[in-house]
């Protein structure tokens, strides 16, 4: 179960990032009635980042942010319009299609819909063995042995589950099968495209823990895509926040949550309902004003300016570049947030809801 690596690669891998994405652009042509070209959807606009080996990058974005498109552009199921995707030292965006098969032995994907990603007519055994069939020359017995191993790794008893079909599985079990398939070839990188969003809360926790466990045991790296910041918190070393096809902010996870620089990140954090763990008071989300802009017609300059409480004239004229504010912490904003704000005062004030005098704010800024 060891990762076979060419001899000299060992040293190289330590210093170079596992995945290096440079200036990825992906666009779709949107067609109106009669198949007439109505406009261009700027799904991904010039995204660049690095993912060091063994780390997890959480990519957070709402609808229309382009995060799923980015995932597909990285894994090359849709070739990006332009840009580089350097994976293990090789630009896979420039590779011809037939050479991509070898690359996919090292880069796999887990999807949002656990049942959609499994052929309903196949048995679990066949599903998990498929990558082995496509990439190795193992015979049937060897494949079966490996499948058993993989099912054990994901916490499914092989004897019970080998012969089952997806229709006989629960959501959590189906997703575990999908994960078993993804790790079959011992890849270096797994892209999780909203892999736990469709699962119930308690099952989400189980699967998140499974991801962590596999990360440690198999030395995996993850690109973990989600639509809210709370989900990726647990699992990420670095977090990237996407807005309408662009990177709003990227940096170490702790920093992003403790001291976000981009107003959009702040807005996302403020929108999460729940209890404040320090005060125990219900946190009342602060709402963002306005509707999300359309990817067909993004605003000029900074794409967040229509909803940003700090927007100025400059924001409409010049697109803010991604600048480094602290080591490794980048934000694309002309007027980034300054002081580390743990809890915004608005949410504290708003948290006094009709529960009466029982809820007292602990500290006011």
């Amino acid at each position: 179960m060891s990762t076979a690596q060419p001899a000299g690669a060992q040293q190289r891998v330590e210093t170079e990032p596992l995945l290096s994405v440079r200036n990825i652009v992906q666009e779709y042509v949107s067609r109106g009635p009669g198949n007439v070209k109505a406009g261009v959807v700027h799904a991904v606009s010039d995204i660049s980042f690095d993912l060091p080996r063994g780390q997890t990058l959480g990519i957070v974005g709402e609808t229309g942010s382009g995060k799923s498109t980015l995932a597909r552009a990285i894994i090359q199921v849709e070739r990006p319009k332009s840009g580089e995707v350097v994976f293990r030292g090789q630009d896979i965006a420039a590779l011809p299609k037939r050479k991509l098969t070898k690359v996919h032995a090292q880069m796999q994907m887990v999807y949002q819909d656990p049942f959609g990603s499994l052929n309903p007519r196949w048995r679990v055994e066949d599903v998990v063995a498929e990558p082995l069939l496509g990439h190795t020359k193992q015979n049937r017995a060897q494949r079966r042995a490996r499948v058993r191993e993989l099912l054990e790794l994901v916490g499914l008893k092989p004897d019970t589950y080998l012969r089952r079909r997806p229709t006989e599985l629960s959501g959590g079990q189906a997703q575990r099968v999908a994960i078993a398939r993804a790790i079959a070839l011992n890849p270096a990188l797994i892209i999780c495209d909203e892999a736990i969003s469709s699962l119930d809360v308690l099952i989400q926790a189980q699967v998140l823990n499974l991801f962590e466990k596999l990360r440690v045991e198999l030395g995996l790296s993850y690109l973990f895509i989600a639509h809210d910041l709370a989900t990726v918190k647990q699992i990420s070393d670095q977090v990237a926040v996407m807005h309408l096809g662009q990177l709003a902010e990227i940096g170490p996870a702790q920093e992003i949550y403790r001291a976000p620089r981009h107003p959009y990140t702040r807005a996302l954090l403020d929108s999460i309902p729940g209890l404040d763990p320090q005060t125990g008071i219900a946190r009342r989300p602060v709402t963002l004003k306005g509707e999300p802009p359309s990817p067909l017609n993004p605003p000029s300059g900074c794409r967040f300016r229509t909803r940003c409480p700090r927007a100025q004239d400059l924001c409409a004229e010049v697109m803010p570049p991604l600048t480094e504010h602290d080591p490794g912490h980048f934000a694309a904003c002309h007027f980034p947030l300054e002081a580390p704000a743990v809890i915004s005062s608005e949410s504290l004030v708003a948290s006094i809801r009709r529960t009466g005098p029982a809820a007292e704010p602990i500290n006011r800024r």
């Binding site: 894994i75 996919h104 994907m109 959609g116 990603s117 052929n119 069939l133 999908a178």
Partner: protein
Amino acid sequence: MAVADPATTVAALTSIDVSDRSIKWARLRKRLVVWIPAGFVVLLLLVCFVGPLVLPLPPPVGGSVLESQLPPGSPGHPLGTDVNGNDVLSRLVYGGRASLTVAIAVNVIGLVVGGVTGALSGYLGGTSDTIIMRVLDVFIAFPSLVLTIAIAQILGPSLPNTILALTAFAIPAVARIARSATLRVVNMPFVQAAELSGSPWWRILLRHIAPNITPQMLNFALLGMGIVIVTEGALSFLGMGIPAPNPSWGNMIYEGQQSLSATPLLVLWPSLALLVTVLAFNLLGENLRDEMSGR
């Protein structure tokens, strides 16, 4: 229909519920709707294909005029004879064999060739898809009956030529269906996952796409049986299908029509046979899909 029960006791809930019974009946009815036509089809196939080998049927052609137009119930001729002295029952059986041969052959060829074409087209997408579909569109654009008549005219009436003519319009129709079914499947994540797993295109088509479009294809094929049988009947009726004196239900109707006032039954038997057969296939086709996809 919700039933209110103010006295909410566990006993009330476990008592026999009317809705339970009505559901059981609905399910039984569903079963029957599949098994009765299926049974009939099996019977039909047995009679028409095995029958001539085992049953003591008089030959369907070459009867003497002396025995013409005997009424049903005559000794040796349970359904009587036609104007040429041939036994009607025998002609019905042999005619059924001819008609069904054409229908099965056309559907099988259509399913295989059309199915593969359509699935390939849907899976490949892009220019290949466009090219294939435009070619097929040309075929579909022709009124099917006119096309088959034209082909039959050019080639001349015979059983193999009839099959050929009918496949010309069966293949594009099946290909259309196969393509749309494939498009529905191809966008599912598991196909993408299969590609990422390194499965080559033929394995994806064979083991991922095909099993998931089979229920629809089968359904279409069974409904198609009815259409083909009727079309063959029309061709034979017009003299361009199975050539006389060999029987087919179509040309039996044609001949019977000529002596309609004297012997109306000669039209009735083949028409009835056509009707019941087409109905059976249609019922089977409609309901088998529900069964196969497990409701």
